[in-house]
């Protein structure tokens, strides 16, 4: 046997640990050098990368906007936090560093956030798309179904083949409600419209999203929509094949489809985050379930593409106004599912609470919800 030096992994471990210590010490020194303490420290956790051109970037840009509007706020931002006990540890660290408001920006952070919230009653938590409230945990999201209905209307006006393709991560209730809303919107202007759905089983796999998009376009779809973390792949593949697309999550994706872009539904969390931070600083923060809609400043309809005629834009805007006035509702009976069962009876209207229980796809949608 040859004499061996220290195990390389051990060397690596020692290196990484010492580097971390240096960074932490430097961070502490920097904070001490900064004389005035921050007005508020806000912690935000992201499930993915803040430059994904999608879900996470929308949250991150909301925080940037908050910092711009409220100078003196310090932000602790951590990316790629798994939806597990790791999320609890990250939140605990943020609180140790003085965070008084924590935005747990992914669905799966709900239980970790509830656990940490119980231990720290003086810290306020906000969670998007959560079902639960706690004395110091609020929840916020927006009714995306109204927006998808409007997108569907535009798609129904633009399509020549009367077919749309929809790439969806998973068949969960809110996503099914979005697909149904899109389809009902399209059918309101094109009674023979057909929506074909492919579930990829994952929020991020561009290769699979590209193959799914091709499969849908091969079936004659000429409009593509998607519910995955980043809309870039689907929008780009559609553009290359001369199809239209409707984006989601993030407005910046429009540049990938200079020809085929119809419009998109995006989140503009900034104004809402400013309100959260102000309320925490004023001491007026309350635990509430905020549920916006197309009238809110944080759910925006992206600019329409050059292919969309002004008449379509006007018709969509008119319907948006009708929704805000309460004259137009998305799920207004009678609505059948794609097996012919009556799901919403004549005269019945589904509300936001019903969307969380939706387990069916509407008549004319081709896909399996389970």
């Amino acid at each position: 046997m040859r004499q061996r030096g220290p195990h390389p992994l051990r060397v690596l471990l020692v290196l990484v640990t010492s580097l971390m210590l240096v960074v932490i010490t430097m961070g502490g020194a920097a904070r001490q050098a900064n004389a005035a303490p921050p007005a508020l420290i806000v912690g935000i956790l992201h499930i993915g990368s803040v430059t994904d051109g999608g879900y996470n970037q929308a949250h991150a840009e909301g925080v940037r906007y908050m910092q711009k509007m409220l100078p003196g706020i310090e932000v602790i931002e951590v990316e790629n936090v798994p939806e597990s006990a790791d999320a609890e540890r990250v939140m605990e660290t943020m609180i140790q560093r003085g965070a008084k408001l924590i935005i747990a920006a992914s669905f799966g952070y709900l239980d970790p956030a509830l656990n940490v919230a119980k231990r720290h009653p003086d810290v306020k938590f906000e969670h998007p798309s959560g079902y639960k409230l706690a004395p110091n945990l609020g929840t916020y999201w927006a009714n995306t179904q109204d927006g998808f209905y409007l997108m569907g209307m535009a798609a129904g006006k633009m399509t020549k083949t009367h077919k749309a393709g929809f790439v969806v991560a998973l068949p969960v209730s809110f996503f099914l409600a979005n697909v149904n809303a899109f389809h009902l919107g399209a059918r309101s202007v094109d009674p023979q419209f057909e929506t074909r759905v492919v579930f990829t089983g994952t929020f991020l796999d561009p290769g699979k999203e590209a193959t799914a998009t091709n499969a849908l376009l091969d079936q004659g779809a000429d409009v593509m929509a998607m519910i995955v973390d980043s809309p870039i792949t689907v929008v780009q593949v559609a553009e290359r094949q001369g199809a239209y697309s409707v984006g989601y999550h993030y407005v910046g994706v429009q540049k990938f489809a200079p020809k085929g872009w119809i419009s998109g539904l995006a989140f503009n969390w900034g104004p809402l985050y400013v309100r959260f931070a102000r309320a925490v600083m004023d001491g007026t923060w309350r635990s509430e379930a905020i549920y916006g809609n197309v009238a809110s400043d944080y759910l925006v309809i992206a600019p329409f593409g050059p292919a969309v005629p002004a008449s379509v834009v006007r018709q969509v805007s008119a319907s948006k106004q009708a929704m805000i006035n309460g004259q137009l509702r998305v799920f207004m009976g009678p609505i059948k599912d794609n097996h012919g069962n009556l799901r919403v009876a004549e005269g019945q209207v589904l509300t936001d609470q019903d969307y969380g229980k939706m387990d069916w796809l509407a008549e004319g949608v081709i896909g399996q919800p389970r």
């Binding site: 046997m1 040859r2 061996r4 030096g5 195990h7 390389p8 992994l9 690596l12 993915g48 990368s49 430059t51 994904d52 051109g53 790629n80 083949t161 393709g165 068949p171 074909r196 759905v197 492919v198 579930f199 990829t200 089983g201 994952t202 991020l204 796999d205 561009p206 290769g207 699979k208 999203e209 590209a210 193959t211 799914a212 091709n214 499969a215 849908l216 091969d218 079936q219 004659g220 980043s230 870039i232 792949t233 780009q236 593949v237 910046g252 540049k255 990938f256 081709i366 896909g367 399996q368 389970r370």
Partner: protein, 304 residues
């Protein structure tokens, strides 16, 4: 209006199968030399990000592929340093390499997210591109055309050259290879570099060939599928082609079934590629020929 089923599936199979095929061709070289590289996922990510960034900067997809391959090759040398020179555990080092690659690629790629590239364009072969059924085979990008020649080249290199013989000898019994005058560490370094080139091309195929975008962890487990494919093919480069086509075809098939509205649960369809793989293993299992290299995963400590 709609495209025939066979053509659709074939095109989908090419799209889904190619990155896995290139990655597995690299992996079979290192495993034949006695090294398991579980860091393949990280190598692919490095190839994907480097080729995408180079394509953004230079506008040339050819340079992108070259840069991706080089990055993959150099990145694999880190594993060579760990497992050959420092004689560390291969499985642990491979996993460390994967996480390292994921992190470094995310860091390098961040400024390029949202960049637009033309990427590798499909090259149509006149006369063949519009054949019924087989048309999609002749409307692919250059990497798809080169995949089968690449597999043949790897086979020839491993089984028909003196270098391949020495490489396989190292994988079976490094002490014997050493006694015969070969240097197992040098051969393993070469194998890892070559494998890295293939892994880098696999990543490039994904980022500038298929989706023309960069996203963190965009390989989504394809590196591990490639490692499994090598075992599945019983360490034979030509059987890897069948494995990759089968796997890619199954992925394409399940997405096609959904797009056509087959009355089957999407959860069940999503398991199709893995069910098919299991099925083939059941049928093929038991053969002793071309089984694992005898010294796979073992540390060669020299003769001191």
């Amino acid at each position: 209006m709609s495209v025939p089923f066979v053509e659709s599936v074939l095109l989908g199979a090419i799209l889904s199968g190619m990155p896995v095929l290139y990655a597995a061709l690299g992996e079979v070289i290192v495993e034949r030399a006695g090294v398991v590289n579980l860091g393949l996922e990280g190598v692919m990510l490095m190839g994907a990000v480097t080729s995408f960034a180079s394509t953004v900067r230079t506008g040339s997809a050819a340079l992108g592929v070259l840069a991706g391959a080089t990055a993959g090759g150099l990145f694999n040398l880190i594993l060579a340093l760990l497992v050959v020179t420092r004689q560390a555990n291969q499985l642990a080092s491979g996993l460390a390499l994967m996480f390292f690659g994921a992190g470094v690629s995310a860091l390098l790629g961040a400024p390029y997210i949202g960049s637009r590239i033309a990427g590798l364009n499909p090259l149509q072969i006149p006369g063949l591109a519009h054949l019924p059924y087989l048309g999609p085979l002749f409307r692919s990008d250059i990497l798809a055309y080169l995949a089968i020649p690449a597999a043949a080249l790897v086979w020839w290199g491993l089984f028909r050259t003196r270098w391949g013989l020495s490489l396989r000898a190292v994988g079976e019994n490094p002490a014997a290879a050493y006694a015969a005058g070969y240097s197992p560490p040098a051969i393993q370094y070469q194998a890892l570099f070559l494998a890295g080139l293939f892994g880098g091309i696999a990543g490039a195929d994904l980022s500038i060939g298929i989706v023309k975008t960069w996203a963190e962890w965009m390989t989504a487990g394809r590196g591990f599928i490639a490692v499994a494919l090598v075992i599945f093919s019983r360490w034979h480069p030509l059987r890897i082609v069948w494995g990759a086509v089968l796997f890619g075809g199954a992925v394409a098939l399940q997405l096609q079934f959904q797009a056509r509205g087959a009355p089957v649960s999407p959860f069940l369809l999503d398991t199709l590629p893995y069910l098919l793989s299991l099925g083939v293993l059941l049928v093929w299992a038991g053969g002793r020929r071309h089984a694992a290299p005898a010294s796979l995963g073992r540390v060669f400590e020299g003769t001191k």
